[in-house]
Amino acid sequence: MSKKLFAVMSVLLIAVFLLSACAQPTEVAKFKACEVTDTGGVDDKSFNATAWKGAQDAQAQLDIEAKYLESKEVADFEKNINAFIAEKCDIIITVGFLLGDATKAAAEANPDVKFSIVDYGYSPVIPNVVGQAFQTDEAAFLAGYLSAGVTKTGKVGTFGGMNIPTVSIFMDGYARGVAYYNEVHGTAVETLGWDVVAKEGLFTNDFSDQQKGREMAITLMDEGADIIVPVAGPVGLGAAAAVKERGNAYIIGVDSDWFLTAPDYADVTLTSIMKLMDVTTFQVIKAAKEGTFAGGSVVGNLSNGGVALAPFHNLDGMVPAELKAELDTLKADIISGKVTMNPDYKQ
């Protein structure tokens, strides 16, 4: 009995294979943009997701096909890139510094395939790779200036996922923005969680556990901070939840506009330090499709809109018109180079 059933099911399974093998669809080959995520996965609400949004925007607007592969561990990077090369992708977008080595090796072995890597750059330049870097501290500087202008307790706080340059650049820019406000206005607003000189600060050492974000936020609020900037991907949502529960503090989002991407916390989101990887990714895909692709790097900054401060949305009333005007001037000053950033974080 059992063997008969086994046989029948085996035959069924094989039939499915054969049927589908015969019914191979013949599609016109579209331009393919393929993204390999790092271990965070495509729904990390952080750089993997933002870059994927760029690819999807390209799919919608440029009549191309967008695909992604998630990496579960480091050994998957090379495998996934190879899978996309075998799939004859026209451009392969890799996300994050962890993919730096794998992307370099694949680009050098396949000089006719185009690559772009988010949050990484190569020197010397590889002719078929575009590195996407972000001068995030420029937008964070604005956020720091804003925070110092609206804080009631005279203390603001920040924490990061890990003490690595792509994270600390937010915290450093933020702290310097606060310091600049103090310098201009003669105030003494304090930034908790980041020491500009020692380059040390508060870190969860984790990019996934929201509970840790919650604990960090509670600690910072207990210390008197009423504005918190969590630079730790989804961990920051835990911080936002804690801030919402406490009810007398605000959060500043990172990477995307949290008012839109985390609507649960819209009422406590003062603004967001946006790192618009979708914009740069879209531009790179567009260049590849239109044949204007050239290896090197693109740096997103305030001037080209690669980084920006999000609108204040519901909390617009909290920001005095005078401060808004000062922010506009400051933005112009940063773009013109009148106000300079920390040279250590120059991309």
């Binding site: 099911m9 294979f17 049927l19 589908s20 271990t39 090379e78 190879n82 890990m162 003490n163 340059p165």
Partner: protein, 430 residues
């Protein structure tokens, strides 16, 4: 074999007979092979069928087709499932049409591309073989080594350190040295819970889990601190290991097939030899089957526990070292997505036998590798394969479900005894 060993073997037989309820073990029947593989085979088949239902049920294309009409929906469901499984199959074993045409018309690169899938499956299976052996060895000693993941991380860190810090060594010395450093790192990490169990009676399950946490944090600290790559500003990634430390890959890109696979097979053979052909292996298995009887027979349980955990840890460390030396070439956070935990189930699937572990690891490698292609061609998420693995393992762990579905007769007493032997290692006891 010396006389003393023969006496011990008799004792083991007696112990097993006791477990079986006093009946002497029956001689093997002719169709033993089918009997051994029927549950895993049926579990895999059932898993694939359930997976098919899942793929169809989570596909928006199928829902859209059902809106058009019922038969349209059914047809589309079959097409979608077929597309996904065809991707799984060609992605893990290769597409015969492509291979033949590459052999006839293509150049060397085409041939490499065409045969890459099956070789890549072997690459994916390699860490599973090492980690599966680690768990199987521990289970045989009645120890539940849930710390394989941590031991793997420590092994990887040790192998990485030796791999990049020593320069100027010839490959013939450097590569084995780095590999053995990985084994040593894992062995030391595995020995700690063994020592704690042997000397203080501390439960190895709890201690292994805690050692995992310590290993994660220690390796993260190492990677962002002492072992970070210069010039990255503290990114959690190590320098690239020296060329002389790399386990060689046999072919050019994209094939990653490497010597590590054969090293894994060699260690499987070694584990088999130790377990089944040496006195010490016999002692280890006796302790595993019934520690009280083993103690009564005068065996040194303390020694077996400590060395058993250390050997298990060494194999786990090799899994990590192999990944670094053969594939990654540097260590970064996100080294493993749970080889250590998958391997527990894998050892169970392989009945804690080195040969079984190899086959189970090949199955996992095939599924994992095929999943990538499946996702590329059909958009079916890779996570489906994780569910598939889980379902298959549930069926293997609970064979009664399979027996009920396929209306098989109840197992003889000896078979249940064999199953309960496996479970005694899970803290079930006897």
């Amino acid at each position: 074999m010396r006389k003393k060993d023969l006496e011990k073997k008799d004792l083991l037989k007696t112990v097993i007979e006791e477990l079986n309820g006093g009946e002497p073990a029956k001689p093997k029947k002719k169709r033993a092979f089918w009997k051994v593989i029927q549950i895993p085979a049926l579990a895999i088949l059932t898993g694939l069928i359930l997976g098919a239902i899942l793929i169809a049920a989570t596909s928006f294309t199928v829902y859209d087709a059902f809106k058009v009409g019922f038969f349209n929906g059914i047809g589309t469901a079959f097409a979608e499932v077929g597309k996904a499984y065809l991707g799984l199959l060609t992605g893990s074993l290769g597409n015969p049409v492509e291979i033949i045409s590459a052999l006839i018309y293509g150049d060397a690169q085409d041939v490499r591309n065409a045969i890459n899938p099956i070789l890549e499956s072997l690459v994916q299976a390699t860490p599973y073989i090492f980690a599966g052996l680690a768990c199987a060895l521990a289970f045989r000693a009645g120890l539940f080594n849930i710390g394989v993941e941590g031991q793997l991380f420590m092994g990887a860190a040790a192998a990485t350190f030796v791999g990049y810090s020593l320069t100027g060594l010839p490959a013939i010395i450097h590569m084995p040295l780095a590999f053995l450093a990985g084994a040593l790192g894992g062995a030391l990490w595995g020995m700690v819970p063994g020592l704690l169990k042997a000397t203080t009676g501390g439960n190895e399950v709890i201690n292994c889990i805690m050692m995992n946490y310590i290993a994660y944090r220690v390796t993260t600290w190492l990677l962002t601190g002492p072992m970070t790559r210069p010039g990255t500003g503290g990114m959690p990634i190590s320098p690239i290991i020296e060329k002389s430390a790399q386990i060689p890959q046999f072919f050019k890109t994209p094939i990653r097939f490497h010597l590590g696979f054969f090293i894994a097979l060699a260690f499987a053979a070694l584990v088999w030899w130790i377990l089944f052909k040496t006195t010490w292996g016999l002692n280890l298995r006796m302790v595993g089957v019934n520690p009280r009887a083993a103690k009564y027979a005068g065996l040194n349980i303390t020694q077996v526990t400590i060395i058993g955990m250390a050997l298990s840890g060494a194999l786990a460390g090799m899994a990590g070292g192999n990944e670094i030396l053969a594939i990654n070439r540097s260590m970064a956070i996100g080294l493993s997505a749970g080889y250590g935990f998958d391997s527990i189930a894998l050892a169970l699937l392989g009945n804690n036998h080195p040969v079984g572990v190899i086959f189970a690891a090949l199955l996992f490698g095939v599924l994992k590798n095929g999943a990538t292609k499946m996702m590329v061609v059909s958009g079916t998420p890779i996570d489906i394969v994780t569910i598939l693995q889980a379902v298959i393992l549930i069926f293997v762990a609970a064979p009664a479900i399979i027996r009920a579905i396929y209306r098989m007769r109840q197992p003889l007493k000896e078979e249940t005894a064999a199953a309960s032997f496996t479970l005694s290692g899970w803290g079930g006891g006897k």
